[in-house]
Symmetry: C2
Subunit: 310 residues, 2 copies
């Protein structure tokens, strides 16, 4: 039902009388909006108590930080530069001013770090649970944005960091890959890119669908998080640190690493460059011509909601 309504909404709003205004539109990480003779990137994310955080257990600073970080990640996935954001708050009556200001500090500190201006917003009180929306505008990369639709057969597939287990902390503390994406776009012709919010298997499928291709992943080369590392970041500790399973790495989501594709000749070169520039990259597979097919190198199909144990 939830996926159906998103499709219905997409169909409705794409019946635009003003098609030239948004060359990309609703289907990519950020929209490209034409304003006079220039283009602007625009994205928006809403975070809800009980869904993306928990008012009772998540430090408010980290709630605010995450609300901006996921938007920065959207701009990063286009290889753009974030410029300014607005913040809308739905404040549950009874939450203290201190708590709310901590949320705003989490936003403000990350905004300063990425040189983003907080230019406006809307503050409301209600009896519903706390929620907030951050909207962001940014610059396109001088060489143009990277879309989801440019991958072709034989391209190599990369991710910018280990995946899985983000729920135990990294979802609140991740570094949006803005600088990494810009560095990648500066030096290579990235053919497609997306940020991993719903899990590698789901988000890679968006690239495959948009590009009309398939993919084969190296089962043993998908980088996986240590859950203990993640928990340390959030101030919580597992008794038994362990490596995420492949299934978790493919489906947990909220990793906010980038997944991107490169032509084979660029793929060879990137490993010479990236380490010198502190950009972490992992080659995890290659693009195939089998439309929408996602499998491991041993031929096992990867199901829509991720790897299914046999």
């Amino acid at each position: 039902m939830e996926l159906e309504i998103i499709d219905s909404i997409s169909r409705l709003v794409s019946q635009s009388s003003k098609g030239d205004v948004h060359p990309v539109g609703i289907g990519d990480d950020a929209a490209i909006v034409r304003i006079r003779n220039q283009t602007v990137l625009m994205a928006s994310d809403m975070l809800l108590d009980g869904v993306h955080f928990n008012v009772k257990s998540t430090p408010p600073y980290l709630i605010g930080r995450k609300a901006l970080a996921v938007n920065l990640s959207d701009i990063a996935a286009m290889a753009g530069t974030p410029v300014a954001c607005t913040v809308s708050l739905a404040i549950q009556r009874g939450l203290s001013s201190y708590w709310i200001l901590e949320v705003m500090k989490g936003i403000k500190d990350l905004a300063d770090q990425f040189e983003v201006a907080v230019v406006g917003g809307d503050t409301n009180y209600w009896d519903g649970p706390f929620s907030l929306n951050v909207s962001i505008v940014g610059n396109e990369h001088p060489k143009g944005s990277v879309l989801r639709s440019g991958a072709s057969a034989d391209d190599r597939i990369f991710v910018t960091g280990p995946l899985g287990g983000s729920i135990s902390g990294k979802q609140f503390t991740f570094t949006p890959r803005v600088k990494e994406a810009q560095w990648l776009r500066d030096h290579f012709d990235i053919t497609s890119m997306i940020d991993i919010s719903d899990g590698l298997s789901t988000d890679l499928r968006h690239i495959l669908k948009s590009s009309g291709v398939g993919a084969k992943l190296f089962r043993d080369r998908i980088p996986r998080n240590q859950t203990s590392t993640l928990n340390e970041a959030s101030g919580l500790h597992d008794r038994q640190p362990r490596l995420c399973t492949i299934d978790e790495a493919l489906t947990d989501g909220e990793d906010f690493e980038l997944c991107f594709t490169l032509r084979p000749d660029d793929a060879v070169k990137i490993f010479d460059f990236a380490p010198r520039h502190q950009v972490q990259i992992f080659e995890i597979g290659s693009v195939t011509s089998s439309v929408a097919s996602l499998m491991f190198d041993d031929g096992t199909a990867i199901e829509s909601r991720g790897y299914q144990h046999r």
Copy 2:
């Protein structure tokens, strides 16, 4: 408490390391964001069940329409042109797909009417009440935006329509004054402007504060709505149509008419021009040099939350 937190947030986010990015910032109807060599208007509004509408009684189409309309009104108050918007939804589980699509149709139809593209969004399900956020970007007027800060003593004060009683229907059916604002800016040097969302007495005070001036209003010339007219628009009917009181006209809010100021010589000219262009205007008072003082022409003070009955 609610006003205090808004002040605290404003102070926090205005400590920007990137002050040149937002020449206006959080204090006006829309922010002016510099992107490369150009500026973009940006605004954001969140609407909440039980605060701005009621899921049980408000037609979903009108909820969607209002969510975009208040943003269009923000752009209008700068005399700008809206270009594109994003829509974030927090959908309470149990609401039907039909209901949600009606919300989106309300947005889409108004967007088409104002040639605004719906370029993206974020659709979420939760157990909390329905809420939505619309963010908008727009073009500045070629002659520049109209701020709240440009009024000076002897300027005349105008509104674009009758005020009060909006809660009985007009809050959902109002026409955002985008075209009116552009026409005004095309032909006159509007010295300040704001849209009336919180009531004339509150919103005019924002102009007075930003401009460092005061105002005197003609008690008998403030245009007031007929409540029956409003109810007709929403499909509801009062048994006894009546004119809003002055108090209601000053404090009800959600009028979404524009309040603006003009130099005295322009104020004389405007009545020759406006009717021919179907722009409704009402002269309601004049600007004084008594900082932050708001009163009627008979000398009665208008209290902060509006006119107080003697």
